[in-house]
Subunit: 354 residues, 2 copies
């Protein structure tokens, strides 16, 4: 016998946003149940799964949740340490603590990636105005100052141009421990969505090419317009990260394509927005792949049957749902209110690989 | 503006078996909610949708259900007339009453199909032993006696060979109004899953070829091994049925391939087991197509990106879930107990169209 959780087992998911929702849909296809932990009573995933409504520092609620499920995974990486401690003493957490420790903190992440021999943007630790001045002198401008923790979709970031007043830049960080990242002259941004099973098997989806607007992912196009050798490099590098972390689950790796090769921008220990195209263009998508991995099942076939362009629907974009539904695979997240900057859904147009 | 139900609307589904479950999963992808009506507290669909637990003649429960949803559809055709009356006075039912009236009764169905100019097996109404003797004299043997209503998966059927004692055959029907169907010398059985939108648009999936074991569907292979012209005939004929019924939703048409052309075996006014392959081999599958139609949305692209073989997992077949999960798209229905003859899941192996 193996360590695979049998059909009917319950996957606990920390976070019930669109990623948790799509994970729960994938789990249901496989005859697995999901139990969502999310403080929001209106969490998108709660429409299709059991739901514990509690905050992430409610230890009693976390304990009850952990006791009700067979394994725990998560849709976001900024899980409080105390929450993880409470859960881990009762039930397996996949991907493991190691992946979270590395990816929760940009400084730890960059250092870990560099130690693995991968190329990252030049960076410096910043914990005050003096440190910022020193870091800017070292790395030059343009550069970008980011909080070490809790940033996403361009939040917690300030771009620094030549001669910008550093005192007001530092004020904008509100004292948060930060990291200065030097400028990377990249031609494209790509990402690889990779998975590693409990048995150590690795399966990566083909690299996609990402476009951002206002700091938020706008579209992912597959295949990326890069030479085959570079695509292979990107996949091998992702496998190296997965193995080094002894990882179980799906991981997203964002990469810059530069004249000098690939530069790792960041990693996310979870299913990733830039992997949504796999739902409509692959035999097994990133969500099912993640569920398979955390349940200890064999990974599925990550091969791609079609080319694809995935476009996010941000805020009012979703008002066009009816016209969009006629044009491709439409995925809506069940969110009632279309606030500016809010991810409401995505649409994926596929066409034969040709 | 159109008649399309906006995201967030609630689709009511009569029946919460595996078909209801897969319909609910498809609806969730589109940001629509589902509300299941099923007497079984353990109904598979109830794991991922709201659930009213009540019997189909509980009019008060049906009224409350109808008032809580925006449209009603169903996963089985044998819905009691009184239940439909109660629901229809409050909310739209799609597909409409016409389709149910035709398909609930084998005699009505065969008569209606023949009136439409389609070829069906020779048949005769049987309501007693005298009628059975007369019908056998007329149609010859082998022949098959079926109850007019409520049969599925080979239930309510008796084969009659030359010289079989008709009195005991009639006794086996327990007085149920029946129909005798003459023998059809067919080479293959195929089926077409067709959809018709609220706007009258028709989209059919490619015909699949079906194999049965013990009266239950065993596998569907796509493409069927038939000439292209015959596949086109099958699709055109399906469109004709859809239009004649002024149909809204997905309909399954089972056909015999004979030397004299296509013979319509039966129609099912719902998503159909022989259309499960569409989940893994088509841009939009039969479940999403049905939800799109009943919600008044544009139909999706029914084109096929891969060849496919769908195999049902009946009873203990599902014990092999782990090995099966390594080999293709595995779909399990969340049923706890694997009783003999019970549909527990299916697996679809795809390969490029090539």
């Amino acid at each position: 016998m193996t360590d695979a959780l049998p059909p009917g087992s319950v996957i606990g998911i920390l976070g019930g946003g669109q990623l948790g929702r799509m994970l729960a849909l994938a789990a249901a296809r496989l005859g697995l149940r999901c139990h969502i932990f999310d403080p929001d009573p209106q969490a998108p995933a709660a429409q299709i799964a059991q739901h514990s409504v509690a905050v992430y520092d409610d230890i009693a609620a976390l304990v009850a949740f952990a006791e009700a499920v067979d394994v725990v995974t998560y849709e976001f990486e900024n899980i409080p340490t105390a929450a993880l401690d409470a859960i881990e003493s009762l039930v397996l957490v996949r991907p493991g603590r190691n992946a979270l420790a590395v990816s929760q903190d940009r400084l730890t992440e960059k250092t870990w990636l560099a130690d693995l021999g991968l190329t990252v943007a030049p960076f410096a630790d910043v914990d005050g105005l003096g440190g910022l001045q020193q870091a800017v002198a070292q790395l030059g401008t343009p550069a970008i100052l980011k909080t070490r923790r809790f940033g996403y979709d361009g939040k917690g970031q300030v771009r620094i141009g030549p001669g910008d007043p550093l005192a007001s830049v530092w004020d904008a960080m509100a004292g948060a421990p930060s990291i200065l990242e030097g400028f990377v002259d990249f031609k494209r941004e790509i990402s690889v969505i990779g998975a590693r099973g409990l048995d150590g098997a690795v399966a990566c989806f083909d690299p996609g090419e990402n476009l951002h607007r206002d700091g938020i992912l706008h579209s992912t196009t597959v295949p990326a317009a890069i030479p085959g050798a570079l695509a292979t490099d990107a996949i091998l590098l992702t496998g190296r990260i997965l193995n080094a972390l002894d990882y179980v689950g799906v991981l997203g790796v964002e990469l810059f394509v530069t004249d000098a090769g690939l530069v790792v921008n960041e990693i996310a220990p979870r299913v990733h927005n830039s992997g949504h195209w796999t739902q409509d263009a692959c035999a097994i998508d990133q969500f099912e792949q993640h569920i398979r991995a955390v349940a200890g099942w064999p990974l599925g076939d990550a091969s791609r049957h079609s080319n694809a362009v995935m476009t996010n629907l941000i805020g009012d974009d979703v008002a066009d749902w009816e016209a969009l539904s006629a044009k491709g695979g439409l995925h809506l997240y069940g969110k009632a209110e279309a606030r500016p900057g809010r991810k409401m859904g995505h649409v994926t147009r596929v066409n034969p690989k040709g």
